[in-house]
């Protein structure tokens, strides 16, 4: 099989950084038959070592800061960070609230941002496609 067949498959590691879980409900919807991202060769993987990209949600909670940084460090280059939702993108309800940070995607320098509170599964899928294209460029 040519390398191209696998070019756009993705191993996705998901990081929840103070999200309200609304973003997670929509991430989970991607596995529903209406979207079924596994058809695209996209899978949620069990280790950052298997991941091509990190999806992050939430404003960044204090207690997740270190774990998030370590997860990113453990992911093999090239890696793309995708900010999922308004909070992660730095514009959400919880950004700067209480002890929350300014947005997990901002802190981890996301190169793809998916807006919405939460974003629809379609919007998240578009974001993942954009990330796949970016990775394509970086891998060659």
């Amino acid at each position: 099989m040519s390398q191209k067949s696998f070019a756009r498959s993705l191993g996705i590691r998901h990081l929840v950084c103070g999200s309200c879980n609304g973003c997670e409900l929509e991430m989970n919807a991607l596995a529903a038959p209406q979207y079924d991202i596994s058809q695209e060769g996209w899978n949620i993987v069990a280790s950052p070592r298997h991941a091509d990209l990190l999806t992050v949600t939430g404003p960044m909670s204090e207690a997740m800061r270190l774990a998030a940084r370590r997860t990113l460090d453990a992911t093999a280059e090239p890696v793309v960070v995708v900010a999922v939702g308004d909070c992660a993108s730095g514009e959400g309800t919880w950004c700067g609230a209480g002890s929350a940070g300014a947005g997990a995607g901002q802190e981890l320098q996301a190169s793809v941002v998916v807006r919405g509170c939460p974003p629809s599964p379609d919007a998240i899928r578009e974001g993942l496609r954009a990330a796949a294209t970016l990775l394509d460029g970086r891998n060659s």
Partner: protein, 469 residues
């Protein structure tokens, strides 16, 4: 007014006896502190009773947790957030920690016992928590669940903000129980403001809450299927849930129904066409019940679910468990039946219970509740036909304190609200069903095999965000 709130002053020395009395026929809701005043709450047919105990300067709080273990986490929170000195507590670790001070896990000791740590990042799309699992061979001896990774210290941040303007934030404390929490918040504000709502708005609120229950229950059943290794069931449940989410978008303007219940009413435009909503729901109902009935009757599935993660009724009661997880152990705790509010007062409603207390029972209670929810929706939407829904009432919120409770998909969701001058938050305290039920998850695992942790955990499927807030 339904679901009344009353306060009674109780000195600390008399509290344990007063609590024994109150809990004879009431659901315990825990306790919380505002500065140095502790309120101990319970819910009965007569509404919420708050026992108010002011602490003198220098006076410590004598832990209630050895008598009623359900108080342990509430007390740990008072200690961490309000600086109350809690005496003779079985667990002195702070409930919430700062980044640099993760509390040490409690691990079992003994010959052949070893510990495995997982988290806070997990191998799926799930919220963060650290689980330290002490095992003896294949069996779990003890699980230490460390939450707080999503803690954002929101409650102090709420203080001083406009009560009315905070409604969108309250809707986003947790995505799994958003509608229920918005409803509890709206009811708290409306009760203080003395506002009465029209019947149409009450039907619409009930319908919104039941749509949330259905999509979360379907998600939870799909998660149980995943825990049992039955992928087809997970896919089927997600397909059905997605159909409800799409319908949510049409009827309430948001796939998860955020902001559909607002103080004074419902979002304008909600349930514009109850007749066609009913028709769509009937189709989803047929498919949903066909799937759920078949799923929970499948022999291979039953083998995995029966006998796993048993919660005895006495344990559920001691820990103040709520929701379908408690009802699966025979506990009567459905707020819709115990202390009916809104349109539930009008519709006769019997709560669903089971007795085995295992993973199967937790699935079975949800199965029946989904069916009840479709029934309730049918009646509410029928009643709404031809009724014009008004725009939300303008409210002005006087000073005062109140607590309200509604039944969310995972159980009793409560709001305690003190309004200060000019409609500002004096104190806003949120206790979720997940907060109440977490201690059960780890205990349900004791004596079970390690590989069943995902299954047992998913049969509760508790949220973290509303616990950590």
């Amino acid at each position: 007014m339904d679901n009344l709130y009353r306060e009674r002053q109780v000195a600390q020395a008399d509290l344990a006896a007063a609590l024994d009395d109150a809990l004879y026929d009431a659901l315990p809701l825990g306790c919380y502190a505002t500065d140095r005043t502790v309120r101990t709450l319970s819910l009965s047919r007569a509404g919420v009773l708050a026992m108010v105990t002011p602490l003198q300067p220098g006076e410590a709080w004598e832990s209630l947790a050895s008598r009623y273990p359900l108080f342990a986490n509430h007390e740990r929170e008072m200690q961490a957030m309000q600086g109350i000195d809690v005496r003779s507590s079985p667990d002195r670790r702070p409930l919430y920690f700062r980044a640099d001070a993760i509390p040490e896990a409690v691990v079992a000791e003994g010959r052949g016992v070893s510990a495995v740590v997982v988290g806070p990042v997990h191998a799926g799309i799930i919220e963060p928590g650290r689980f330290t699992i002490s095992t003896g061979g294949e069996s779990v001896v003890h699980i230490d669940a460390q939450l707080s990774y999503s803690h954002r210290a929101l409650e102090p941040w709420f203080e001083g903000q406009s009560v009315l303007a905070l409604a969108p934030q309250v809707a986003r404390v947790c995505g799994n129980c958003s509608v229920a929490r918005s409803w509890a918040y709206a009811r708290a504000i409306e009760a203080l403001a003395g506002a009465e709502l029209d019947a149409g708005t009450e039907y619409a609120r009930l319908a919104l809450a039941e749509m949330e229950r259905i999509h979360i229950h379907l998600f939870d059943l799909g998660s149980i299927a995943a825990g049992a290794g039955y992928g087809k069931g997970t896919t089927a449940a997600l397909e059905l849930r997605e159909r409800i989410n799409q319908l949510n978008r049409v009827v309430g303007g948001h796939r998860l129904l955020f902001d559909s219940i607002v103080p004074g009413g419902i979002r304008p435009g909600t349930f514009a066409d109850p007749g066609s909503t009913r028709a769509i729901l009937r189709t989803i109902r047929d498919d949903a019940m066909r799937f759920v009935d078949a799923f929970l009757a499948k022999r291979s599935v039953l083998r995995r679910l029966e006998g796993a993660g048993i919660v005895e009724p006495a344990m559920a009661r001691r820990f103040g468990a709520v929701g379908p997880s408690a009802r699966a152990s025979g506990i009567a705790c459905d707020v819709r039946a115990l202390a009916p509010y809104g349109a539930y007062r009008e519709f006769s409603f019997t709560e669903e219970r089971a007795s085995a207390g295992d993973v199967f029972a937790r699935g079975e209670v949800r199965r029946r509740e989904i069916e009840r929810s479709f029934d309730l929706l049918e009646r509410a939407l029928r009643a709404m036909e031809g009724v014009a829904l008004p725009v939300p009432t303008e409210l002005s919120v006087p000073e005062g304190t109140i607590a309200t409770v509604v039944e969310g998909a995972r159980g009793a969701e409560s709001i305690s609200l003190s309004v200060a001058a000019e409609g500002r938050v004096g104190r806003l305290h949120i206790i979720s069903a997940a907060y109440r039920n977490w201690p059960l998850v780890t205990r349900a695992m004791e004596g079970n095999i390690v590989p069943d942790f995902p299954l047992v955990n998913k049969s509760f499927n508790l949220c973290y965000s509303c616990v950590d807030r």
